[in-house]
Symmetry: C2
Subunit: 387 residues, 2 copies
């Protein structure tokens, strides 16, 4: 427990990974090195709870945020009264908190970062308030998929049947070290025009799509078994084919929703064709795609095929500025493309269709950052100047 006195806030910094669903329902995810870092400071000198996200102060009164804060404080109080009344005495439960959170990937990427954000918030708050044990349930009050960011590597979410969701838990299936050759590329697609509202899309799908019902009952359970087995055996073609089928079937049920929901745009369709034609050219499944509630593609490939595929993306989606800053994250070697390969793909290039690529791989679950210089808040409890 960090120490606390009148002048120095108690301060804890943690990270939590972003999760990428490969089975899209009753989910199975890969947690990657893209992550959120959060610092929580607690001090009797703070006048009110405050929150900064990616350098900007935000309204902390959001109900989901409040729900997480309230729940952690309740557990801390319970723990103090039940077990050891003095263990967390130094952290005043009535003191205000300052929270500061940043992502290590561009927010403009349009990636669903709230899962990592809430997982990190809850994990860090729990550390700060000395709360232990299963935190998935609290994280889920922030974001439905935050519980999957509470572990590293491959994580399975077992949906329960209870109304209150208390039997719904996430568990690690394979650690992040299990499949070191596996690489993940996020292809950030340019939005053609303003996306057309998809609020409460999933809820409408559940209510109106007859195909979704069948998918959930009769298809996903088998695929979950096959996926766990493919990952266990590190069988890339099996993993890749299942991942692509899952993505397409998710979007099929979006289209079967009434009124229908479209997340894939023409750039997404282009990427899908590129992947299938690339695999066809080599006569084996070397690359897979997965799409969530937006046009960005998540690409899975074994390390050895990444350079060529990235080069191919640059060829068919010629970037704005000569490829500068086109690849973010883990470095990718350059590669040459053969004329046969380019001709065999035979797609019309789509200039600026992909804004940039984020390169990542399997990453750990939430971690405490031990180095105090990494705190995002100063000793005064205000965000440090970002360099």
């Amino acid at each position: 427990m960090p120490e606390d006195n009148m002048d120095t806030p108690c301060m804890v910094t943690c990270t939590a990974p972003m999760n990428i669903a490969v089975i899209k329902y009753c989910k199975y995810t890969l947690n990657v090195t893209l992550k959120t870092t959060t610092t929580v400071a607690i001090s009797r000198s703070f006048k009110e709870d405050r929150l900064w996200l990616n350098g900007k102060e935000e309204d902390i009164s959001h109900p989901r945020l409040q729900s997480c804060l309230r729940e952690i404080r309740r557990l801390a109080r319970k723990r103090r009264s039940e077990r050891n009344p003095r263990s967390t005495e130094s952290v005043g439960l009535s003191h205000k908190v300052h929270i500061c959170s940043v992502n290590n990937f561009p927010t403009a990427a349009g990636l669903a970062s709230s899962a990592a954000g809430y997982a990190c918030l809850v994990y860090t708050l729990a550390q700060a308030f000395g709360v232990e044990g299963e935190l998935s349930g609290i994280a889920r009050q922030g974001s439905g998929s935050a519980c999957r960011s509470m572990y590293g590597g491959f994580v399975q979410w077992i949906m329960g049947s209870k109304e209150d969701g208390k039997d719904s838990v996430a568990q690690q299936v394979e650690p992040e070290s299990h499949w070191p050759e596996l690489r993940v590329l996020v292809l950030v697609a340019s939005a053609e025009r303003k996306p057309i509202g998809s609020t409460s899309g999933m809820q409408t799908s559940v209510q109106t799509s007859l195909l979704l019902k069948h998918r959930a009952e009769a298809i996903v359970p088998h695929r979950m078994v096959d996926m766990i087995e493919a990952v266990r055996r590190k069988d890339f073609p099996a993993f890749a084919e299942l991942t692509m089928k899952e993505s397409n079937q998710l979007h099929a049920t979006c289209l079967d929703t009434h009124p229908p929901i479209f997340y894939l745009n023409s750039v997404s369709q282009h990427i899908i064709h590129l992947v299938h034609r690339y695999n066809k050219y080599y006569g084996e499944t070397r690359v897979a795609y997965s799409f969530d509630a937006g046009p960005n593609a998540v690409i899975f490939a074994l390390q050895q095929f990444v350079p060529e595929f990235v080069q191919l993306v640059q060829h068919f989606f010629p970037p704005d500025r000569n490829g500068e800053d086109f690849i973010k994250g883990l470095p990718v070697k350059s590669a040459a493309l053969t004329v046969e390969l380019k001709q065999s793909i035979g797609l019309e290039p789509l200039p600026k269709g992909v804004n940039y690529i984020i390169s990542t791989k399997a990453g750990p679950g939430p971690l405490v950052v031990e180095d105090p210089s990494q705190h995002l808040l100063s000793a005064e409890g205000l965000p440090k100047k970002m360099v």
Copy 2:
């Protein structure tokens, strides 16, 4: 039977309607006034079988075409020998045929015209060779959906279970006079770029889409019953909702195909949103859409709502040339749009997204054209100069 001598060919001209599927599998269609007209001429002076489609001579050796020709000649021979050896004697079965066929809608529309084309060909050949009775089976050898163009109005296709398809028949459910207020608009969408190959798409879907299997077995049979009932009662909202759900579910199964098939482009998506927002604005279902293997939309609406909706299409897809020639087919009155309506739709206009609109309605089945001046071939058996 037209007469035949050394100099004047025996000549018959018929029309057959284009069919639009509203239940997309085990189909239920509306046959419209868009049609193919075909003239068949038979003469001992012709040196070879010849074919002209929309003013251009085409290769008559296409296996499907040959199959229809062979089958009609076989039936004519059978009929002559069995029933009345002299009735069709004047039409020599060994004589060559000249066939000339035109559509009353632009071929560039990308409409699936082969169904009407083969239905008309088979019907006209049968008239010319004096063959009577059920011709659906022969028409199906040309195009799978040609049998549905053998009747007018609302037609149901009952798929049989026999391998040879001989128990697969089309039957009229309601005549074209049943629902005179119902109008059909074909919105011909601009192709964004070359379509990406979808050869044998349906076959791949049947083989790979788990959702298609469920749809065919558990969903379509119920929808067929509901659709027949909605049309019988002329219940537009019920007809419209089912039609849209069917279209979206068809395209959902295309997306669930591996590799996935995309027929809807961004113009199609725009049209879908326009229809739903229009209906939402009025709080009732006034317009429906349906899409087949391409980006063109077929719009269904009752006559009274057509002018406003067409005006809305012109507003959100501003045409190239001041709206000139934007509407083809049945005339559409002009209408004014309120500011509230335009604002409520709130879509970004997509200039030239819709090339033009073809306006049509329920039409009759195949018909013999009695006026000899309407023959498409001259007395010499060659295409007349088109005006």
